[in-house]
């Protein structure tokens, strides 16, 4: 590892902090399970960051994006495309987990310290911008879900903020992680919604050959690609999983379990994402109705008319869950980044008194997003739909720096990237970069009338 002063006795003679003590208790459980050869217990203890990153990214705008794809184009092409994207996400997130487990440091602080303050602050700036926009979209998602039950925007704001406060109240990473994990499993509601619309299973099987390819203009196709990629891999996931892996206390011995955690998260997220796609596809033969009503009850209401009350209700509950879980994980990633870049305590294992900025940033960013959706006349629909695209456009820089960290033998030692991981990682960056840039440039040229639509 790069010289840090880490191995000096002076560093180790410093008093133990509450954060050390809390993490040590968690590690005691892991050590006991490992020594007792309790495989399932060990897996249970070590899962968390990967599943949360993947299911957290199955957020409100993402599920709306999948459902919109289904409603406008049907399930063809997207059924195999969504798992392919989550395979890409796995490649990126595995690197984050590995770097976090080996260095015990978050992405923001490593970029800032290893590559310089400019790159650290650029990354934090990208994250803050995309997180704020995405958080607004999450509150919109909760609002859409609650509107189905005739509940107003005030309830959506209160629900989101109370959840953030509640999960922050324990002063332990373990507690925060388990609560959010428990909530995240309800992302499975989208699978239930798909079952309730009674899909044609043979049509689902036939779509595995990437056909029929979505029609429409070149720009529409680029928008679909950019927003679907943005629904799968985003800057906040990179910050979150590396920081959460370090905060959880993962070590190189846990890397294989970290891989299982990330893989399980990717598989679940792909299945539930396809669930939203199939549920949305029930609207296909009805002209994709309901999409324009997104700012109101939108999708759930349209689904109720086409597939029955149960499907609409389940989809509405799914949107509430997707928004709520994402508010918690995205706020956490913002808080990690703020603490890491400013250089103050940044752990759920620290008390609010010892990590005031971490807790303030966690709640503050959710509060700002909540305040925006209370402003009358704010174009919530446009914000929600553009959140994923902006994340896709800003993603390549974060990914390049992540690959550089994962290749840094001074930091990673024998756990640095292998050549095959680099080849796949670079291919993912190129694909994401080209899709995002192509959409951004083509849309701009159309807007300024330099090319026809």
């Amino acid at each position: 590892m790069a010289t840090t002063g880490a191995d000096t006795p002076q560093a180790l003679d410093a008093p133990l902090t509450g954060e050390d003590a809390a993490r040590s208790r968690d590690r005691l459980q892991v050590q006991s399970a490992r020594e007792g050869r309790k495989r399932w217990r060990l897996l249970w203890l070590l899962v968390g960051p990967g599943i949360l990153a993947m299911l957290g990214e199955n957020d409100g705008p993402s599920m709306i994006a999948y459902a919109s794809d289904g409603a406008q184009y049907g399930i063809g092409f997207f059924v195999p495309f969504i798992p392919l994207l989550f395979l890409m996400a796995y490649v990126c997130q595995e690197m984050c987990m590995r770097v976090g487990a080996v260095t015990h440091r978050g992405y923001g602080e490593l970029v800032l310290q290893r590559f310089g303050r400019v790159w650290g602050w650029f990354g934090a700036g990208d994250l803050t911008l995309t997180n704020l926009v995405t958080l607004i979209a999450e509150f919109v998602s909760i609002r859409v879900g609650l509107a189905y039950f005739h509940l107003g925007v005030g309830i959506a704001v209160a629900l989101g903020l109370v959840l953030v406060l509640f999960t922050l109240s324990g002063g332990r990473y373990w507690r925060w992680e388990r609560i959010v994990l428990g909530m995240a499993l309800f992302n499975g509601l989208f699978l239930l919604a798909a079952i309730l619309v009674k899909p044609d299973i043979s049509a689902v099987a036939r779509s595995l050959d990437f056909s029929p390819f979505p029609g429409g203009s070149f720009n529409t196709l680029l928008l679909l690609l950019a927003s679907t990629i943005g629904a799968t891999v985003t800057p906040w996931m990179i910050f979150f999983q590396q920081s959460a892996s370090a905060d959880k206390g993962m070590t190189p011995r846990d890397i294989n379990h970290g891989r299982y955690d990330t893989a399980v998260g990717a598989v679940l997220a792909a299945i539930f994402g396809i669930g939203a796609l199939i549920a949305g596809a029930a609207l296909l033969t009805h002209g994709g109705s309901g999409i324009q009503g997104f700012a109101g009850a939108g999708f759930p209401e349209a689904l109720r008319r086409v597939a029955g009350g149960a499907a609409g209700t389940v989809f509405a509950l799914g949107l509430i869950e997707a928004g709520a879980v994402a508010i918690l994980t995205i706020s956490a990633s913002t808080a990690y980044a703020a603490g890491e870049c400013i250089g103050v305590s940044h752990s759920f294992n620290s008390s609010p008194r010892n990590a005031a900025l971490f807790y303030a940033a966690n709640f503050g960013v959710a509060l700002v997003a909540a305040a925006v959706i209370l402003i009358p006349g704010v174009p919530l629909l446009s914000i929600a739909l553009n959140a994923n695209v902006l994340a896709t456009v800003l993603l390549p820089v974060s990914l390049v720096l992540m690959v550089m960290l994962a290749n840094d033998k001074g930091l990673m030692g024998p756990w640095a990237n292998k050549r095959s991981t680099n080849v796949i990682g670079i291919a993912v960056i190129a694909f994401v970069g080209i899709c995002g840039a192509a959409y951004g440039i083509d849309s701009f040229l159309q807007t300024v009338h330099l090319v026809g639509s």
């Binding site: 590892m1 790069a2 010289t3 840090t4 002063g5 880490a6 191995d7 560093a11 180790l12 003679d13 410093a14 133990l16 902090t17 050390d20 003590a21 993490r23 040590s24 590690r27 005691l28 050590q31 260095t103 015990h104 440091r105 602080e109 490593l110 310290q113 290893r114 590559f115 310089g116 650029f122 370090a246 206390g249 070590t251 190189p252 011995r253 250089g343 305590s345 174009p379 446009s382 553009n386 695209v389 456009v393 800003l394 820089v397 390049v400 720096l401 550089m404 840094d408 033998k409 001074g410 930091l411 030692g413 024998p414 995002g436 840039a437 951004g440 440039i441 849309s443 701009f444 807007t447």
Partner: protein, 84 residues
């Protein structure tokens, strides 16, 4: 300062600190046993050494950075234009 990868591997293969100070309280010793040496807050709060990036890498990063900013501005411009 230790920068030998083999030594690092040894450090990170689960080696722990068993008693870093005889005058420490017993319960602290117990807790210390379960954390790796470089997991302590006292250690992680010290910055890692700055990497020496080549001129080509720095140029590439800046080129990507500027490109991403330009495309982001295009997306934001398009978004604002669509609002009207």
């Amino acid at each position: 300062m230790n920068s030998d990868p083999a030594d690092i591997a040894g450090l990170r293969n689960g080696s722990t600190i068993h008693a870093s100070g005889r005058d420490r309280k017993h319960f602290e010793d117990d807790l210390v046993e379960h954390l790796e040496r470089d997991q302590f807050v006292a250690v992680t709060s010290r910055p890692v050494e700055r990497a020496a990036l080549s001129a080509r890498t720095i140029t590439g990063l800046w080129a990507l950075r500027i490109f991403v900013i330009v495309v982001s501005l295009m997306v934001i411009y398009t978004f604002v234009d669509q609002l009207h």
